[in-house]
């Protein structure tokens, strides 16, 4: 969570029943603009950013046709008949459980991004483009004011 600009608030959430050394910070997204600004940094190779709404329900943020959408996840211990393609499957853009991220944040926000256990954040869209030619996004060069925020 290197970016420090924008209107999101990194907060320290002390986990219950865990040693102090395992404490970790969660990222709180209070506005659509803050979600859009961190999306490119936090998205995994599938373009997904898992977030939880204020009721602790799990969603993923995903870019669909240049817009930031939010999709409810359906995670069970065992697969159920009729389950939607899951978090790591194809995004069902026709699903009724897809929302504009702005509506999700305004109605059921703020959203919480739990820390990733991955040692290195995977860059977005690695397969089709030559990542060596892409500008590196670092804490120094990251500037939310320069990112496009399509609605």
């Amino acid at each position: 969570m290197t970016p420090t600009m924008g209107s999101f608030d990194p907060v320290f959430t002390p986990p219950l029943d865990t040693p102090a050394s395992e404490e970790s910070a969660a990222l709180i997204l209070r506005t659509f603009e803050s979600a859009w600004s961190v999306y490119g940094v936090l998205a995994d190779t599938h373009g997904h950013v898992p977030v939880r709404d204020c009721y602790d329900r799990l969603w993923i943020l995903v870019e669909v046709a240049g817009r930031l959408r939010s999709r409810r996840t359906f995670i069970h211990d065992h697969p159920h008949i009729g389950d939607s393609p899951d978090v790591y499957g194809l995004i069902d853009v026709d699903s009724r459980a897809v929302l504009h991220a702005r509506d999700l944040i305004d109605a059921h926000g703020p959203l919480r991004v739990d820390p990733s256990h991955a040692p290195v954040l995977a860059p977005l869209r690695t397969g089709a483009t030559d990542s060596a030619h892409l500008p590196t996004c670092t804490s120094v060069s990251f500037d939310v004011t320069r990112l496009d925020c399509p609605t």
Partner: protein
């Protein structure tokens, strides 16, 4: 036909609650929030889910994550002017709630009835956004059925009576509780 008649029936201890609920479902008895200003009706329906004394979250444990967001949408619907796409928000609740209810059965622990209440409100919310008239009778009878499924007859009668009295005489001291918890609609 005013809701006072329903209150009279509830105050008659010899009138069984299942008969009263059946009367509401058939239209023989008036249902709370079936008529009136949309803002007042949707506000009461939000309370039907999350009122701390007689709301569904007070009746059944473990379904706050379903009732609270649907109550929030009832509040948003109660206020017609806001920048959000409320229809899309209602629609997003439908599929997950349908999946949840499949894991429960009626007449057991009240979970099915509460989830059905949420589903009926989601249907009403979508209809409202499409410009259709809704009565919310299905949601109300499902909620009252959840009450009589989970509580003893005396307690259930008190809970349902409190809900109906709240519709007849809304108290502004408690109406703000959900708004405070969930945030006022913009």
């Amino acid at each position: 036909m005013t809701t006072h008649r329903l209150l009279d029936e509830l105050n008659n201890p010899h009138r069984p609650l299942p008969d009263i609920i059946y009367g509401i479902s058939t239209g023989a008895l008036p249902s709370p929030a079936s008529t009136g200003l949309p803002s007042e009706r949707w506000q009461w329906l939000a309370h039907l889910l999350t009122h701390p004394l007689w709301g569904m979250t007070a009746i059944v444990d473990g379904l706050d994550h379903v009732c609270a967001p649907v109550a929030r949408l009832c509040q948003l619907t109660a206020h017609p002017i806001h920048p959000l796409n409320v229809r899309e928000l209602w629609a997003a609740e439908q599929l997950p709630t349908t999946e949840l209810i499949a894991a429960h059965s009626p007449h057991a622990d009240g979970h099915w009835e509460v989830l059905n209440t949420a589903l009926e409100l989601i249907t009403d919310g979508l209809d409202h956004c499409n410009g259709l008239e809704t009565s919310a009778i299905e949601a109300v009878t499902s909620a009252f059925t959840a009450v009589i499924t989970t509580q003893d007859p005396a307690t259930a009668r008190a809970s349902i009576t409190a809900a109906v009295e709240h519709w007849i005489h809304p108290t502004h001291t408690t109406t703000s509780s959900v708004s405070t918890q969930l945030g006022a609609a913009s």
